[in-house]
């Protein structure tokens, strides 16, 4: 059995991986913040079988945390993001048990950490536009954000 690392070490490894991808891959177009090559490298054909809506939820959670780190005036609502995390993880492992459940759980947390890192990279490269887009999202009356 592989010796278990501390959870924070695994998360740090994921973040480092995501940032390495971001630094290695320039933006696909001059006007785009989206690190296309890095996303493509991260999202392999062998990605775990997570439903599209759950992937979108993970994107939302990771993005909100990145905005809170990079943009003034945005603080996470811990209760909301904890509830969203519960919902996303529970949905991703629904119907699984034993080793399969633990494997999916690990995949979800790794994906979340790496996604968070890529959003941090996109926001760090273009902070003004990144935070402006966050403000627009927060102002959308139909969207229930996870900031305070």
């Amino acid at each position: 059995m592989i010796e278990a690392p501390a959870p924070h070490r695994a998360a740090t490894a994921c973040l480092a991986a995501a940032l390495a991808l971001a630094l290695a891959a320039p933006p696909a177009a001059a006007q785009s913040q989206r690190l296309a090559a890095a996303w493509e490298a991260l999202i392999s054909e062998e990605e775990p079988d997570i439903a599209p809506a759950e992937i979108a939820k993970l994107n939302t959670i990771a993005y909100h945390a990145a905005v809170a780190r990079l943009c003034e005036g945005f603080d996470l609502d811990v209760e909301k993001i904890a509830a969203a995390s519960n919902e996303a993880v529970a949905a991703a492992v629904a119907g699984l048990e034993g080793e399969a459940l633990l494997a999916r759980h690990a995949d979800v947390l790794i994906s979340l950490g790496a996604t968070h890192g890529l959003f941090l990279a996109e926001g760090s490269l273009h902070p003004e536009a990144f935070c402006a887009a966050a403000a627009e999202t927060r102002d959308d009356p139909e969207f229930a954000d996870l900031w305070r």
């Binding site: 695994a10 390495a20 989206r34 493509e40 392999s44 945390a65 995949d107 968070h116 536009a129 959308d140």
Partner: protein, 91 residues
């Protein structure tokens, strides 16, 4: 980061971490198996094999572009559009 970590730990614990030691082993196994490592290697390799096969996108509204493989929408001028991501993929 600490706030996010707190939230994630809360979520993970409530959801599934009945056996934390085994879960941690699984994180290590996933890393060892290349879930992340393969991506790093691909990105840092001298011989690029990125073909941007997933760059296909569509526009649900003026100024918005959505990428199915990423389950994410962006403003055409670049910024991630979380509200549109929710509208298109999670509503």
């Amino acid at each position: 980061m600490r706030r996010m970590t707190t939230a994630l730990i809360a979520g993970a614990t409530v959801a599934t971490l009945a056996q934390p030691a085994a879960a941690n082993s699984d994180v290590a196994a996933a890393l060892a198996a290349g879930v992340v490592g393969a991506a790093i290697g691909a990105s840092l390799a001298d011989h690029p094999h990125h073909t941007h096969r997933h760059d296909a996108h569509f526009s649900p509204a003026p100024g918005i572009e959505c990428y199915d493989y990423q389950r994410a929408c962006y403003h055409a001028d670049g910024g991630f559009a979380n509200n549109w991501t929710w509208r298109v993929y999670d509503r």
